[in-house]
């Protein structure tokens, strides 16, 4: 055995009472004080510490804060933050006031991050929650969400999450348990593990996202047989030869900028966030918004206003150089982001802190060979690992500058007439946002 199952949360449904409400108020105030202290000390927004203090003082706060709202959850390995922003924008388009829709826009997506966001918007009737894959079962269990968006599953930080299938099993169990009271699930039909995880839901709206990442979908999650992948009318189609699991007929389908819906209508996405991957995210957000009651045109108009969710795709200035920031957290993310980085030179920022995944083996699953002929500045604490990967990709012009701020003062970057594209793992991305004055 190379892998091992991830422990699951166990939880019971909670009914808020008068005493618990008083307790929650005390916990909220204490959390707010901790957040303020953290902000004053210059340690970020304090959202996470606020949530931690609250949940410590009142462990039931999570369920109490979720109660009585209309909730949409967004989960999956990649695209959670952007999809959450798109869905929030779609819902706010029809809300009387932006404050009616609360979201954890900063990407703090564990229990305490969600609790923190909700506690600051007690009167918001609608909550759009970016939810870590591990937290989905407990939100389904305690939060009674109306819609659950399941984007994709791929290998990510395997030093911490050993088997992605264990996550899917947690979702299946939660949806089975929720039964007819469970959410409508909006799910990516191209991802076998998502399909298997979503199957027990009372209703699933399937999205043919045209997903191209198949490297984590070799085996049938249902029976373990080797899945077959073939092309049907120019689109991928997967099927299990040994059991019933097969790619479902889609309700929505993405073709370039066009999304077709179950009524046979086609809609045009006008997004400011780039790439095929974000069109897939937008199709999922679009379907979810409509389930929540947003008319299609308003949903599209709302989504068109989203520019740089939590700094992703933002253009800023670092050490005098104009830079566009792209985040890539795992091989599937790199497969999507790297083709968007078309500048010459291009900057690759690499670390292997806990939040990046401590193992940089993933870089051998990314086709850096596509950078041949361009100049690359490798930066971040693990820039040297990237330099070796690039050497084996036969990318010849590589500069290694471990310090992020110094990298952006490299002579290659002087006098460019376009922003330099930067693809970054998680922790350097957060540092670059700070260096660029975005966070």
């Amino acid at each position: 055995m190379c892998g091992m199952a991830v422990p699951r949360h166990r939880s019971t449904r909670f009914t808020p009472g008068i005493f618990s409400r008083f307790r929650l108020q005390v916990a909220t105030l204490a959390g707010r004080a901790a957040a303020t202290a953290s902000r004053l000390a210059g340690r970020g927004s304090g959202a996470s510490i606020r949530g931690q203090v609250m949940l410590k003082l009142d462990p039931s706060a999570f369920a109490t804060l979720l109660a009585g709202r209309r909730i949409a959850c967004v989960s999956g390995t990649n695209g959670k933050t952007t999809t959450t922003h798109l869905l929030t924008a779609a819902l706010r388009r029809v809300a009387a006031d932006d404050e009616d829709v609360v979201t954890n826009a900063d990407g703090a997506n564990l229990h305490h991050g969600i609790a923190s966001a909700l506690s600051e918007h007690r009167r918001a009737l609608v909550a759009v929650l970016e939810t870590d894959e591990r937290v989905v079962p407990s939100v389904v269990d305690k939060g009674d969400p109306e819609v659950l968006v399941l984007l994709n599953f791929s290998r990510d930080q395997l030093d911490r999450h050993h088997e992605i299938k264990a996550l899917g099993r947690g979702w299946r169990d939660a949806l089975t348990k929720a039964g007819d009271a469970g959410p409508v699930v909006v799910a990516n039909a191209c991802d076998p593990l998502v399909v298997w995880s979503a199957q027990p839901a009372r209703r699933v709206v399937w999205i043919d996202t045209g997903d191209v990442w198949g490297q984590d979908a070799a085996l049938c999650p249902g029976c373990g047989a080797v899945l077959t992948h073939r092309q049907v009318d120019g689109r991928g189609h997967w099927d299990c030869p040994a059991c019933e699991l097969t790619q479902p007929q889609p309700d929505y389908r993405v073709d370039g900028d066009t999304v077709s819906d179950p009524n046979g209508h086609s809609w045009t996405l006008e997004l400011q966030v780039p790439g095929r991957f974000n069109r897939a995210n937008a199709a999922c957000a679009f379907a979810a918004a409509r389930i929540m009651g947003v008319p299609p045109r308003e949903a599209l108009e709302g989504m068109a206003t989203v520019t740089a969710p939590a700094g992703r795709f933002a253009t800023t200035t670092i050490s005098g150089t104009s830079a566009r920031l792209l985040l890539a957290k795992n091989p599937a993310g790199w497969a999507e982001s790297l083709p968007l980085a078309t500048s010459d030179p291009v900057v690759l920022a690499i670390n292997a802190a806990a939040a990046d995944g401590r193992d940089v083996s993933w870089m051998w699953d990314v086709a850096y060979e596509q950078l041949v002929g361009r100049r690359v500045i490798a930066t971040g604490p693990r820039a040297q690992d990237m330099a070796v990967r690039l050497a084996y990709a036969e990318v010849e012009d590589v500069a290694v500058v471990e310090d992020l701020a110094t990298a952006f003062a490299h002579p290659w970057l002087a006098g460019l007439d376009q922003p330099v594209d930067v693809v970054s793992t998680y922790t350097p991305f957060q540092q670059l946002r700070k260096l660029g004055g975005l966070a």
């Binding site: 055995m1 083996s361 051998w364």
Partner: protein
């Protein structure tokens, strides 16, 4: 003209979870840079494994993938034929485990029969081994090299009489926290440092190539690799895992 050195990357989508294809990339480039022709064959489940490769590579994967890979390799049979013809097999992590006599999978530690290419057995260890690993590898002539890598495995491996450890652990868990790491038996080499372990360890990469080609290779000067090795060895010795 000699025929190209054939490298078979076996069941990449099953046993390639940690960037293990990097080992094939490294071996191929190190031949190419010396002007030696090679052919890389990526074998997916369902395809026939070539019987005439010089080097076979097996990588890391999840429990179900291990079971599936063993059954497919046994049905196919060509890996065994290739090894009978004198090929080299380099197997990492889950790939190393399946080369043994038995390994276990799942929460209930079901015992699965392996390929029987290495006299080793693997069962669930007391705690998962995750982190940087540093070992000292000794060649037959008594010379040694440090091997730097990243290990991530729940199974612990015990060596039988016919298998020798590949290396001694300096920092990390290795086979079973017993000071040994990996196994060598004839031309089959198994090791826990997974993914692109050959990228950080060019001596080991060239050793596999020399075994497979029966020739002595001239050294390659790649300063970026030396610098990375220094960095990782220094970090591990400082205590970073």
């Amino acid at each position: 003209m000699t025929r190209p050195v054939k490298i078979a990357l076996v069941y990449q989508s099953l046993l390639g979870i940690y960037g293990d294809r990097g080992n094939a990339t490294v071996l191929g480039k190190r031949l190419q840079w010396r002007g030696i022709d090679h052919e890389l064959v990526v074998v997916e489940p369902g395809d026939a494994v070539p019987a005439d490769a010089s080097i076979y590579l097996l990588g890391g994967g999840e429990d179900m993938a291990q079971v599936s890979a063993v059954s497919a390799l046994q049905t196919d049979g060509n890996l065994f034929r290739g090894l009978d013809e004198g090929a080299v097999l380099f197997a990492v992590c889950a790939g190393y485990q399946i080369c043994g006599k038995t390994f276990t999978v799942g929460d209930r530690d079901e015992v699965i029969e392996g390929l029987g290419l290495l006299d080793v057995t693997t069962e669930r260890g007391p705690q998962r081994a995750v982190g940087e690993i540093l070992t000292r590898w000794s060649r037959a002539d008594g010379t040694t090299s440090l091997i730097t890598g990243f290990e991530n495995h729940g199974g612990y491996t015990t060596l039988g009489q016919d298998a020798n450890p590949l290396a001694r652990v300096v920092v990390g868990v290795g086979n079973a926290n017993d000071g040994s790491e990996g196994a060598v038996q004839g031309r089959v080499i198994g090791t826990y440092p997974h993914g692109p372990v050959l990228a950080r360890n060019p001596d080991l990469a060239d050793h596999l190539l020399e075994l497979a080609t029966g020739t002595t290779l001239e050294p390659l000067d790649k300063p970026e690799i030396e610098r990375l090795r220094e960095q990782r060895i220094e970090a591990v010795q400082r205590g970073a895992r």
